[in-house]
């Protein structure tokens, strides 16, 4: 198994290097990624799922004029998952959850390579020097957007290849999140007595890339699925709940940032959105919440949509504009429109 993972990691590196080389030859005027930095990212992604460790992580979040922080105990067992225990503070409730290793299988390692290739495609990855975190020597990798704004800074342990410290920036280049390990011990945690999710397999399924058949089935079931915005892939999709309470959750990713679309049947009851701003995206009236990530709610075509996103604005606009506007009366026009969309989804499940 380890050999398979190593082979996939090498393959991922090959994909990234090839895409970088292609990009370099395609347009020499654009800032190019450093293949060494990209290899470091690929190594960090691999270590994140193949290295067992126990550590204490400090998480800081910025939103508008507020800042919150929390201390988290992270116990990761390679191939199994991470036990995450949030210590209670004035602004943070105690929380304990188990996150299965979504990218542990060979199938999802393929997705890992694809997502990492997206990072190389959508961002400029360079070496930004070296540093030291909790006494460990690290390489600092800068991930910037093509417009030059910072997207992430990562301090990658030269020994374990784990990311020890990380800064996240929003699309305006503002720091919105920082995480750093204050203790780290490479060891295999004992999960005896830790309640594991009964549906580990099902949970793992949610991290796999949606197949065309999946999306086609959703389309045939009446769900409206926007095509992936430019430079993004469908990372995960699932339908939760039953009957009229079903919720479709589709997640798109550009490699680092994600956009989740939640779709429910019905019309929007905006009584709970009193403190949200009214805005317009692509000509569609929406409710927008302050803070990060962006949260946007609107309705149309007897569906209520919620978008949670920390990606570029054009991607959000693409999704909003792709979905029906207004409300149908359930007449012939509505049925024909619904039928055309269904037939369209049979022909092109990604359309």
């Amino acid at each position: 198994m380890a050999q398979v993972r190593r082979a996939l990691a090498v393959a991922a590196g090959g994909v990234l290097t090839a895409s970088l080389a292609g990009a370099a030859f395609a347009d020499v005027s654009e800032p190019a990624s450093d293949p060494r930095a990209v290899q470091l990212l690929a190594g960090a992604a691999d270590a994140g799922r193949t290295t067992s460790y126990v550590g204490t992580q400090v998480v800081m979040l910025w939103s508008d004029d507020s800042q919150r922080s929390a201390t988290v105990q992270v116990s990761h067992r390679a191939g199994t998952g991470s036990l995450i225990e949030v210590e209670p503070t004035a602004t943070t409730a105690a929380h304990r959850s188990f996150e299965p290793d979504g990218v542990a299988s060979a199938a999802t390692a393929g997705l890992s390579a694809q997502v990492l290739a997206l990072v190389a495609q959508n961002f400029v990855v360079t070496l930004a020097g070296s540093g030291e975190v909790i006494g460990r020597a690290t390489d600092v990798v800068a991930v910037d957007r093509p417009d030059g704004t910072a997207a992430q800074r990562l301090w990658i342990d030269r020994d374990t290849r784990l990311v020890l410290r990380r800064k996240f920036y929003d699309s305006a280049g503002e720091l919105v999140r920082q995480t750093a390990f204050v203790t780290l011990q490479p060891t295999t945690p004992d999960f005896t007595g830790v309640p594991m999710p009964q549906t580990l397999q099902a949970a793992d399924r949610s991290t796999q890339q949606a197949s065309g058949a999946d999306l086609s089935a959703f389309g045939a079931a009446g769900w409206r699925l926007p095509s992936a915005p430019a430079g993004m892939v469908v990372l995960a999709n699932r339908v939760e709940g039953s009957g009229d309470d079903q919720v479709l959750h589709v997640t798109y990713s550009d490699g680092l940032g994600t956009l989740s679309l939640f779709e429910q049947r019905g019309r929007l009851d905006a009584s709970g959105l009193a403190d949200w701003d009214r805005d317009e995206i692509g000509g569609v009236p929406v409710y927008v919440s302050q803070g990060y990530p962006r949260r946007i709610v609107w309705d149309g075509g007897d569906r209520v949509y919620t978008v949670v996103a920390e990606c570029r604005d054009p991607a959000v606009e693409h999704v909003v504009r792709s979905l029906p506007r207004g409300h149908s009366a359930g007449g012939l026009d509505d049925r024909v429109g619904r039928g055309a969309r269904r037939v369209g989804s049979w022909i092109n499940p990604f359309g």
């Binding site: 992604a45 992580q57 009851d269 990530p293 949260r295 709610v297 919620t306 039928g339 055309a340």
Partner: protein, 183 residues
């Protein structure tokens, strides 16, 4: 390669000369598109046979009334002898032979019937397509139009957990973010 075009209708109507019919049939034998067109014309003719001509749409009537009478009898010199063509017809049926070089609007009574037939065929096709799409679309979702208050905090949690599973995700940050965003 040339196709039958209007000659398909002439073939079905029995308007072609003996030689022209033979050439048309030889072509139909080897051309799927024209065979389908002839079949469609034949079905439509069967459908319409024995029934009065369907009432044309007002726009069509207006167009028909706008056609100068001279084009029907050639009194204004508008009609020209049939030009040599692959599917030429007898001189008694000049309209079909002149199909390729027919002046705009120059249709005889049979041409008008054909135009009506084509319009009916087009309308029928459009109607069938509309009904098929409506059938595929199905009725509106029952019970799905009630008021919905989206559980945004729950959605945020699902989002951050999914995001944390990215190859370069950060599970600790995702969990904290979902927890601290709770109001």
């Amino acid at each position: 390669m040339s196709h039958l075009g209007d000659v398909a209708a002439a073939l079905v109507d029995g308007e072609l000369s003996h030689d022209a019919r033979d050439r048309a049939l030889a072509h139909v034998a080897g051309c799927d598109e024209c065979r389908a067109e002839v079949e469609a014309q034949r079905r439509l003719r069967t459908m319409l046979s024995g029934r009065p001509d369907p009432a044309p749409a007002p726009e069509l009537l207006a167009r028909l009334r706008g056609i100068p009478a001279a084009t029907d009898d050639g009194a204004d010199g508008g009609w020209t002898p049939p030009q040599p063509a692959l599917f030429g017809v007898a001189s008694t049926r000049p309209r079909v032979a002149a199909a390729a070089s027919r002046p705009a609007g120059g249709r005889g009574p049979r041409g008008r019937r054909r135009a009506v037939r084509r319009m009916v065929a087009g309308s029928a096709s459009a109607f069938a397509l509309t009904m098929a799409l409506a059938a595929v679309g199905g009725p509106a979702d029952s019970g799905g139009s009630g008021p919905v208050s989206p559980p945004v905090d729950q959605f945020l949690q699902s989002h951050t957990v999914t995001r944390a599973r990215l190859p370069l995700g950060d599970p600790g940050a995702g969990i904290v973010e979902s927890v601290t965003w709770r109001r």
